[in-house]
């Protein structure tokens, strides 16, 4: 039983990893960022490329991926998203377009393949990342055999979630973000530089996605199309948890991950996914704003 709970926890932590960045951008800014999955993909490719070109292991790739995807997020915010605040459906379309562009850029090696230049690690093929030796295999804890890499993911996710919570609830910048979540116009009137805070928030959310990508690259295949299914999972968690609520995101990812594991052990993965979506639909029917949304004033 502990075994199943552990698997559920590891599924939850992957959901949370992806949803954390989304919860911030969608919750704080009302931007449906369809390119979030591609940020994860870029993070995964940073891990692949740093393995090939820098001979660096996964741990080095984590800060690297954060920086790369945060900068990419900043650029996207400046060029595309900034013009579309308050137009939620337009951001959906625009960021979806951005997602396609990023996918193609990786697939075509930033266009270099047209000139016959091949960047090892990019391209349409499947890539893999070698996990460091101490993260391979299993170890025993309290009589349960635990998968070392999955434990590592859970720990990193816990650290990231705590850091995010601290930033949002314990710093001045976080207070500005929370003010913008509640009422952007009032926040602006109180002297908060909404544009600047928004672009920083977007960059931070993207950076989290990059870290998620590095961690996922250790257990899954890395390829240009890996993004879209991830973003679906992310939105599922955010919507169930309640937009703009970090606690909600945390709890809904735990809930959905454990449901997935329990149903999958009893039956199979295909049914587990169906049940998970059924639960999401049920939650939205009963509490349209998610489990932990703000009370509107």
């Amino acid at each position: 039983m502990l075994n199943i709970l552990f698997i559920g926890l590891s599924l939850s932590s992957i959901l949370l990893l992806i949803a954390l960045g989304l919860a911030i951008t969608y919750g704080a800014m009302g931007v449906i960022n369809m390119a979030h999955g591609e940020m994860v993909m870029v993070g995964a490719y940073v891990a692949v490329l740093s393995g090939i070109w820098l001979d660096a292991n996964l741990l080095v790739a984590i800060p690297l991926a954060f920086v790369v995807t945060a900068l990419l997020g900043l650029a996207i915010e400046r060029v595309v998203v900034r013009k579309l605040y308050g137009r939620m459906l337009d951001t959906l379309l625009a960021t979806w377009g951005v997602a396609l562009l990023i996918q193609q850029a990786v697939r075509l090696e930033f266009g270099l393949s047209f000139f016959g230049v091949h960047v090892e690690g990019l391209g349409p093929g499947l890539q893999h990342v070698t996990t460091p030796a101490f993260l391979q295999g299993t170890f025993r804890l309290a009589g349960v055999e635990l998968n070392a890499y999955r434990t590592f993911i859970i720990l990193v996710t816990a650290v990231l979630a705590t850091a995010t919570w601290w930033l949002v609830y314990r710093t001045a910048a976080g207070m500005q973000v929370r003010a913008i979540i509640r009422n952007p116009n009032m926040a602006a009137a109180s002297g908060i530089d909404v544009k600047r805070v928004n672009s920083m928030t977007f960059a931070f959310g993207s950076g989290l996605a990059g870290i998620a990508g590095v961690l996922i690259s250790g257990i899954r295949t890395v390829f240009p199309d890996m993004g879209p299914p991830l973003v679906v999972d992310g939105f599922m968690v955010v919507v169930t948890g309640g937009v703009g609520s970090l606690y909600g995101t945390l709890l809904s990812s735990a809930l959905l991950g454990e449901i997935n594991a329990l149903v999958a052990i009893g039956t199979n993965d295909i049914l587990a996914r169906a049940v998970m979506f059924a639960v999401v639909i049920l939650v939205i029917l009963i509490k349209p704003n998610g489990l932990f949304s703000f009370k509107e004033r």
């Binding site: 590891s10 391209g123 499947l126 893999h128």
Partner: protein
């Protein structure tokens, strides 16, 4: 990653330039090129695998042209892109057969795309040469199946696992579509015949990459061997999760039917060391024919690290079977090719192959490979000679009682 992206346009331009040369100097009708089609995904999710197959076909044709073509005429390939989409495959097949008027198309990779183009080939009476190992359960007068059918991958495999590896409890795992489920059907028959049992079978969505639960189930099932019919990129995350959860191919090996040199290269060979695959062809087959084939293929795709595998070999040799059929009949029509290709043999890179006179499938030699740390297999067991393809073995077809006959499918046997 060993797969290298090929600039397809560039190469086909070179190919057509090479082919245009004879046409510039042609003097008589006899040297007019023979047109054939090549229908593979050049774009989309399946393009990684299908471009390699297209390369196999194009390489065979360029070799044929270099040695004087077919019936003294050069062969011209019309390349079409199926775009990883069965409907596009069907449209492009119509285009090839009706507008380009080719009587033969080499192509398709998935069963879905083959099923989508089948009506066109049957209605217009054209021939499709199909190289991928597939689930059987098909009997068309318009398709030459040059890849393995289930009995050619499993007939020796299951008894070998039971007797030589001493395994008694199978856990069958596959992707959730027709091929793995048909393979599982044959496997279960053979497992019971061999005096072993299967403890469970589990299927995951195509492209699924979260294996924690399934590997945990395998762990707790008490199975001592895993039979894997998982396809595509899922294979990679499966093998990695398997090792990461502390499983070992030494004690509970994964025995696969799809995992080839391609997937092994993509997952990292260390995750597959000690696991097995059953295929009629392996890159490691140590014959002068195969060594030369690998060298020529690497030169052709301009990638010194390119790998070869079963479907690629079949994509290559099926073109020569077509050539022999055309030359035997001295006729390009589909009916002539169908007649001429029956019983036709060819010394392929992996050994002798023959098209069966009854069911148009290919006689192949079942082999079992054990994967090593260099990403290559060691052939640990092989039949002494090619065996007869039985596309309906899951439904009880045997050599003595054929379901797929020269007159087409004997459907009375299926219902009975």
């Amino acid at each position: 990653m060993v797969l290298k992206r090929r600039d397809f346009l560039k190469r086909s331009a070179i190919a057509s330039a090479a082919m245009a040369f004879p046409t510039l100097t042609r003097h008589s009708f006899a040297s007019e090129p023979i047109k054939v089609g090549a229908l593979y995904s050049q774009t989309g999710g399946l393009s990684v695998a299908e471009k390699l197959l297209a390369n196999g076909v194009l390489m065979a044709i360029s070799e044929i042209n270099a040695t004087g073509g077919v019936l003294g005429r050069p062969v011209e390939v019309v390349v079409e892109d199926g775009a990883s989409d069965p409907r596009t495959f069907s449209e492009k097949a119509s285009k090839l057969v009706m507008r380009d008027r080719v009587s033969t198309v080499f192509g398709c990779h998935t069963s879905a795309s083959r099923k989508a183009v089948l009506p066109i080939f049957e209605r217009r009476d054209a021939m499709l040469f199909y190289q991928t190992h597939y689930e059987g359960f098909e009997c068309s007068r318009n398709v030459i199946y040059s890849g393995a059918v289930p009995n050619q991958q499993l007939a020796n495999y299951i008894p070998w696992i039971v007797e030589k590896l001493g395994k008694k409890k199978f856990f069958i795992v596959g992707s959730n579509y027709v091929y793995p489920r048909e393979m599982a059907k044959v496997s279960k028959m053979l497992i019971e015949q061999a005096g072993a049992e299967w403890v469970a079978d589990d299927y995951l969505e195509l492209g699924h990459s979260e294996w924690s639960v399934t590997v945990n189930k395998i762990k707790e099932s008490g199975a001592d061997v895993v039979l894997s019919n998982v396809v595509g990129d899922s294979v990679i995350s499966f093998y990695r999760e398997y090792i990461n959860q502390g499983m070992s191919h030494e004690t509970v090996p994964i025995c696969a039917t799809v995992t080839s040199e391609i997937e092994i290269a993509a997952m990292g060979a260390e995750y597959a060391v000690g696991s097995y695959t059953s295929f009629p062809y392996f890159m490691s087959i140590d014959t002068p024919d195969n060594t030369s084939f690998i060298e020529r293929f690497r030169a052709f795709v301009n990638d010194p690290r390119a790998v070869t595998y079963h479907s690629l070999e079949a994509a290559y040799f099926q073109v020569f079977l077509w050539k022999q059929a055309v030359e035997k009949m001295n006729d390009l029509s589909a009916s002539a090719i169908r007649e001429g290709v029956r019983g036709q043999s060819f010394q392929a890179p992996g050994g002798l192959v023959t098209i069966d006179a009854d069911n148009l499938h290919c006689w192949l030699t079942p082999r079992i490979g054990r994967w090593g740390s260099n990403g290559q297999s060691e052939v640990v067991d092989a039949y002494p000679a090619p065996i007869k393809p039985l596309p309906y073995s899951a439904y009880g077809e045997t050599e003595q009682s054929l379901f797929c006959t020269p007159a087409g499918l004997d459907s009375s046997r299926l219902s009975g």
